[in-house]
Symmetry: C2
Subunit: 437 residues, 2 copies
C-alpha cells in the first residue's frame, strides 16, 4: 500500500524539557519505532523561539509562528508540548481545523477546555491524543480506555502529583514539617517557586478530571472537582496516622455512587498494607477498582523528560497506525473512551461519603471524651478507633477514626464538638479511605 511507505510528518510545538525529550526519543529510537509501525516518522517543523544547540535540528524548519506551522501541508501530526492555556488552545484549534492530528501533554488545557477541543476534533475527523497529560509515562489513559474496556469502573484513586507525594513521603520518613520539605523540593527542582499548583491539588484535579471522564464516559468538569491541598498536614498527624496503621497520601479520587459521581482531591489516610500506600517519592500510581477485573494498580514516573516523551511518542505511534490503516484517521477509540457521554451529576462536597481521621485537642477534663463520642453517636457516626495521645502543651490530642459518613453530617457534628468549651484550636479532619474492593 503506497500510503504506508510515506513518512508521517510531525510538528513539535515547544522545545522545553518534554519537547526536547520527545524529539530526542523519536530520533534515537527511530529504528525500533519503525520496526513497530512500519512507517518512518519525520519531524518537519519545530515551533519555538528557543535555541537548543544540544538538539539535532538539521533539516527541520524552526519558527515561532505556531499558527503558521500548524497550517503547513507537510505536517500530519501536531505535538503540543509548550503548556499553558493560551496560545495552546488557539493553536490546537487551528491545527484541528486544518485536519491535523494532535498530541498534547497539556492537562490544564484539556481539563478546562477539553470538551471544546474534542468536539472540534470529532467535527474534523481527527484525534486529540493525551496519554502524556496524566501520570507521565504510565500508560493509564490507554489502560482505562482500552485495557479495561470490558469493565464497569467503580472508582479510581491516584497519586497523580509527584511533588506532593515527595513531600508527604519525606514528612513520614523523617518526621519533617511541611514547609521544611517544600523548601527542599523547591531546591531539588521538584516544586515550582510558586508551589500552589502542586501542593494545593490543582494539578491533581486537572488530571483527575481527565481520568474520570475516561473511566465513566462523562464530560470534563474540572470546576466540579472538590480540591484540598496538603499544606495543612502536620508531622504530628502523619505520626498519629502511622501509629494507627495508615499513611497519608494526596489522592485524586473518582467514585461512582448511587446518586452520581464523586470527584475529589484531598489528603487521605489509607491502610499501610495497600500497595499504593507504599508508592514513595516523586512516583505516581493509579489504583483502579473495576467490576470484572477487581483492583489493578499502575505505577511509574509521573513527570520528567523521558517518561513524558515516552507517552507522547506512544500517542504518535497509535496515530501513525490509525492514519495508516483506517480510512480517515479519526481514530478507532472514542476520545473519552465512550462514544456517547452521559450526564451524571457530580456530587457536592456535602453529599460525598468518606471515613474520617479527626484530631481534637482537648483540656484534660472528665467528661470531654464522653461529650465527643455522644455527639458523634447522635449524628449516627460510627467510631472505628479512638486514641488519646500524650499530652502536648497542656492539651490532650484525641484521635478518632470514623466509618464512612456523608460529609454534611460530619460538618454538623464537628461544629458541635468545636463548640465544646474544653476543645482548643481547630479540629483537624483528614479523610480516610479503606480502598476496599
Amino acid at each position: 500500500m503506497e500510503c504506508d511507505v510515506k513518512p508521517v510528518r510531525l510538528a513539535i510545538l515547544g522545545l522545553g524539557t518534554v519537547g526536547g525529550g520527545a524529539l530526542k526519543l523519536l530520533q534515537e529510537n527511530a529504528a525500533e519505532i519503525k520496526r513497530r509501525t512500519g512507517r518512518e516518522i519525520q519531524i518537519t517543523h519545530v515551533g519555538t523561539r528557543r535555541s537548543r544547540p544540544d538538539l539535532e535540528l538539521e533539516g527541520i524548519q524552526q519558527s515561532d509562528d505556531l499558527m503558521h506551522i500548524v497550517r503547513q501541508p507537510d505536517v500530519d501530526v501536531v505535538v503540543e508540548v509548550m503548556g499553558g492555556i493560551h496560545p495552546a488552545y488557539e493553536v490546537i484549534m487551528e491545527a484541528i481545523k486544518h485536519g491535523k492530528q494532535v498530541v498534547t501533554a497539556n492537562k490544564a488545557l484539556l481539563a478546562e477546555h477539553g470538551n471544546e477541543l474534542f468536539k472540534a476534533a470529532e467535527d474534523n475527523a481527527v484525534q486529540v491524543a493525551y496519554e502524556a497529560a496524566v501520570a507521565g509515562g504510565i500508560p493509564i489513559i490507554k489502560v482505562i480506555r482500552e485495557g479495561l474496556a470490558a469493565n464497569r469502573i467503580e472508582w479510581l484513586a491516584g497519586i497523580i502529583n509527584g511533588t506532593g507525594n515527595f513531600i508527604l513521603t519525606e514528612m513520614r520518613d523523617k518526621g519533617r514539617a511541611f514547609t521544611d520539605v517544600l523548601k527542599e523540593a523547591q531546591e531539588l527542582g521538584y516544586a515550582e517557586a510558586d508551589p500552589t499548583f502542586d501542593v494545593e491539588g490543582i494539578d491533581a484535579a486537572h488530571k483527575l478530571t481527565i481520568l474520570a471522564s475516561c473511566a465513566f464516559g462523562i464530560p470534563l468538569q474540572f470546576d466540579k472537582v472538590y480540591t484540598e491541598g496538603i499544606s495543612k498536614i502536620t508531622a504530628q498527624d502523619v505520626k498519629y496516622a502511622e501509629e494507627l496503621g495508615f499513611r497519608i497520601k494526596h489522592l485524586g479520587i473518582a467514585r461512582r455512587v448511587e446518586n452520581g459521581i464523586e470527584l475529589r482531591v484531598h489528603p487521605t489516610l489509607i491502610p499501610e498494607e495497600e500497595l499504593i500506600a507504599n508508592v514513595n517519592g516523586v512516583k505516581n500510581a493509579v489504583l483502579v477498582q473495576a467490576h470484572a477485573v477487581g483492583p489493578t494498580l499502575y505505577y511509574g514516573a509521573g513527570a520528567g523528560a523521558g517518561p513524558t516523551a515516552s507517552a507522547v511518542v506512544a500517542d504518535i505511534v497509535d496515530i501513525v497506525r490509525d492514519i495508516s490503516y483506517t480510512e480517515d484517521g479519526a481514530g478507532t477509540i472514542p476520545q473519552l473512551a465512550f462514544e456517547a457521554l452521559t450526564d451524571v451529576p457530580i456530587l457536592k462536597r456535602e453529599e460525598m461519603t468518606t471515613g474520617y481521621y479527626l484530631r481534637v485537642d482537648a483540656e484534660d477534663q472528665t467528661g470531654v471524651l464522653a461529650d465527643i463520642t455522644t455527639i458523634l453517636s447522635r449524628a449516627g457516626i460510627s467510631i472505628d478507633a479512638i486514641m488519646q495521645q500524650s499530652r502536648l502543651k497542656d492539651l490532650i490530642p484525641i484521635v478518632i477514626l470514623t466509618d464512612p459518613v456523608v460529609e454534611s453530617k460530619m460538618d454538623e457534628a464537628l461544629a458541635k464538638i468545636q463548640a465544646l468549651p474544653a476543645i482548643h484550636g481547630e479540629i483537624v479532619r483528614i479523610r480516610l479511605e479503606s480502598l476496599d474492593s
Copy 2:
C-alpha cells in the same frame, strides 16, 4: 457506514470458568460495551459438551463439534477458552483458515506453538489476540505492545503465577513450610492436585515466553527459558533473606544484555522496599524497565473468571474496532509488537549473570569462613554481605550475598566450596536481583 451497524458475532469455545465468565461479562455489560465500540456483540455459538444451566444461552447454538463451529459464516470472532494444546491448536488453525479473528487465553498453546499460529494469522489477514494469556486481568500485553511502544525495553520481571506467590507469601508471613502451604493452596483451589505446572515454574515460563517476545520482538522460544521452581525453598532461607532486607519471590525475568537475551524463571531475592516485593497472595505484578520511561509496574489479579474474562473481552473490543474501521481486520499492531522479529541469541544458564544468596552449612571450625571467602575471591566473585547464623544441629549456617556474577563462575566456585570437608549438605543457592534501573 453500513458495516458498523451489524453486530459482531462470536463463538465461545469452552464454557468453564473463563468461558462462562466472558459470556456473562459480555451479556451484563453489553450496553456499556456498545457505548464504547458503537457495535453490538452477539454470541452466536458456544462450543462445549458441558451443561451450564446457570448461564443465559437462549438463542445461542451449542455444539461440541468445534471444527464445525469455526467454519460457520455467522462467526466473526472465535474465542478459545478451553485450554490445553490439543485440540485447541487444530481448532484455532481451522478458524484462522476460515478468516476468523481469534481471541485466546491459552498461554501454553501460544508459548509452544504461537509462532505457527501467528504466521497462519498473518497469511490469512486475521489476528490472534492473547491479552488473557498473561497475568489475567492486568492489560500487560497492551501496555508493552502499545503503551511503551516508544521505549527500548531493557528488562522485565514478573510475579506471573499466583499460586507460587500465595505459597511464598504464606511462608514468609507465617514461617510455614512449603509442603504445608501447598496443601492449603490445594484445599483453597489455588493449586491443582498436580501442582508441578505452577510450583515448578512451567506456567510462569509460558507467560514469560510471551512477554519477552512482545518486549524484544523475538520469536517465542519456550524451550530456551531456564526454569527453576520454588519447591526447594525453605522457611529457614525465607527468614534469613528477611533479616537481610529481602523477600523471596518467584520471578519470570527477561533481560536484554550485550550478547543476547536472558529468559529465566526462578526464586529470587529482591529488596523489600521494592514495590513488587510487596505484592502478596495470589496477585500478579509485572515490573518493566524501559529506557525512556524508567521503571513502571502493573499489578492485579492474575487469574479467576472475572479478571480473565476482562482481558478476553478487551481483546474482543479491540478486534471489533479493527473490523469496523480497517480494511481487512488484520489489526494495526504487529502480533508480537514488532513487524519483523529479530533473532537474538537466548543465553544458556551458564552465560547468565545474577547476584546470589548462598547458604553453606559448615562445621564450627577455624578457617572455614576464610576458605569460603578465598574461593569466592579467587573466582572474582564480590561478597556483598556475609552473616553467620545461630548454630542448628551442630552446624553453623553461613549466609552470603554476592554481587552479580556469570553463573559458570559461580558453578565452579560452589563446586570447590562444596568439596570442603567442613561443609555438610548441599549448598543452597538462590538468585538475587537488586532490580535497579
